[in-house]
């Protein structure tokens, strides 16, 4: 993808990483695509950002991005938060690529903890930032053992966690990083996306890649892969439901963030996907709080 490279205005190689490193990462990605849901170890590099800020995702993006790509970066659904803005400007600088906030214009989307509301297409790649790739980590701390468990398909322990949830809370209380089974084989951590987004993983036309920099693992969901969320027969998987639509654009059936408006208990629910929300507002949709944004206190104080 990054063969013909015109040098941007930086002393760095195109997209920051050297070509050998990108090759190594692409090799790991190919293996990950060949074995959906399997965690492929790779020689993760130091990146000019702290661990936990998306070093895995950035390395995957850097090894895939080409001069013609259009990059979108989202952080918890938003295009305008520190992490998203920084990574976007990082690639604008070291790769000189076009960036965008519009999901449908992007060819490459790096995301932290959300899947865009707009359905993706076959021409898009979604790169997830993953803090802890091992879904069994908190159940079995030994990495040697968890790798063996994956190899032998010993996933009873994963259900022990769900059992504990139901025993304690009466329902499966895991709301994010909800474990999934890929093509009936590997159990995978979908990264800390809300479980609301889990149904978007299955049968997606876009290639989905997961990079964990600190943990040095890459895994993948090739397009049109079957992804099932784990559950019990009598406690089936369910996504979160919201009692009101987005306060700004009136959208329902999307993932909403709760925003505290004042210190009198005032709150509103707005789309977590800022691009989706803006798009709807431009198209004329209005939520019940639209326009109240200028004076947020007024609305809540009655």
């Amino acid at each position: 993808m990054s063969t013909a490279q015109e040098k941007p205005e930086t002393p760095y190689n195109f997209a920051y990483l050297d070509e050998q490193t990108k090759r190594m990462i692409r090799r790991a990605i190919l293996k990950a695509v060949a074995i959906p849901g399997y965690q492929v170890p790779f020689a993760s590099r130091e990146m000019p950002m702290p661990y936990g800020w998306g070093t895995g995702g950035v390395q995957v993006t850097a090894s895939l991005i080409g001069p013609d790509d259009v990059l979108k970066v989202i952080d918890q659904g938003a295009d305008d938060t520190t992490n998203a803005v920084s990574i976007r400007s990082f690639f604008a600088k070291v790769a000189g690529v076009k960036t965008t906030t519009h999901t449908k214009e992007a060819s490459l989307i790096q995301t932290r903890h959300r899947v865009p509301e707009m359905p993706l297409s076959e021409n898009q790649i979604l790169v997830y930032q993953v803090p802890i790739p091992e879904p069994l980590r908190f159940l079995e701390p030994r990495e040697t053992e968890t790798r063996l468990m994956h190899a032998l398909e010993e996933y009873g322990l994963m259900h022990v966690k769900l059992y504990e949830d139901i025993a304690r809370h009466g329902h499966i209380a895991t709301t994010y990083a909800y474990p999934v089974k890929v093509e009936g084989r590997y159990v995978m951590d979908p990264s800390p996306i809300p479980k609301f987004d889990n149904p978007k993983l299955t049968n997606s036309p876009a290639l989905q890649l997961f990079g964990a920099g600190r943990e040095k693992r890459i895994y993948a969901l090739p397009p049109y892969t079957r992804v099932e969320s784990l559950d019990f027969e009598d406690h089936p998987f369910r996504v979160q439901e919201f009692s009101e639509p987005c306060g700004l654009c009136g959208a329902s059936g999307v993932y909403l963030d709760e925003v505290i408006l004042d210190d009198h208990g005032g709150r509103m629910f707005v789309c977590s996907d800022t691009d989706h929300c803006e798009g709807r507002r431009e198209a004329g949709h209005r939520g019940h709080l639209a326009g109240a944004m200028g004076a947020p206190g007024a609305e809540a104080a009655e």
Binding site: L148, G156, V160, K161, Y163, E164, I166, A167, F232, D234
Partner: protein, 264 residues
Amino acid sequence: MSAPIDPGEAPLLSVERLTRFYGERLGCRDVSFDLYPGEVLAVVGESGSGKTTLLNCLAARMKLSSGAVRYRMRDGEMRDLAALGEAERRFLMRTDWGFVHQNPADGLRMNVSAGANVGERLMAIGERNYGEIRGSAHDWLSRVEVPTDRIDDSPRAFSGGMRQRLQIARNLVTAPRLVFMDEPTGGLDVSVQARLLDLIRALVAELRMAALVVTHDLAVARLLSHRIMVMKEGRVVEEGLTDRVLDDPQRPYTQLLVSSILQV
């Protein structure tokens, strides 16, 4: 206590000249015996006599230096344990076998509730109905006399005796045919020990499991086992029906062992 052995039945476990060395040091040597369904065999001897080595070799937790251990699978076929694949071996361990550790913390998941501990094996073999898993857990807790209202408590909140009973329930939930026990009553006070022994005895009889119990406590061996094997320095020095060995020991070492029991 006589073993409910059907004379026509094939052995469940067949051990032939089992030998294990730790480098130059001997663990155990030339141990041969057969274990039949429903039979309880006690292995006794002092510390360092090779009991635990033998147990670990039998339960496929350790490789043999030489010799063979064969096990009759549920389909009736005798299989050499050394020739089983890792996946088969682990499947055997969580379905057909149980392993009761001396220290319950080694055999339990201390971070999850008692109910999940009992249900884990069921979930591992594909049970996906919460209500049924919980039902089994409830049933087993009451069978091992753990109060069922503590089903959602962590084993950390349990006493030593309760933890040991929970460990037994966790192992028996898949109706194993063979259970290995390493000093199952070690570290418990005598009244708790007596109740636990009663429980194990009843369960073994009811479920018709075979069991291999390693202990240094001859009283435990007397109460639980049909047959006894006395080990010293890695070898079996005497073997026979429990009552015979304990009442009429033939070998000098066994005589010493039996006469060393403290009388109160």
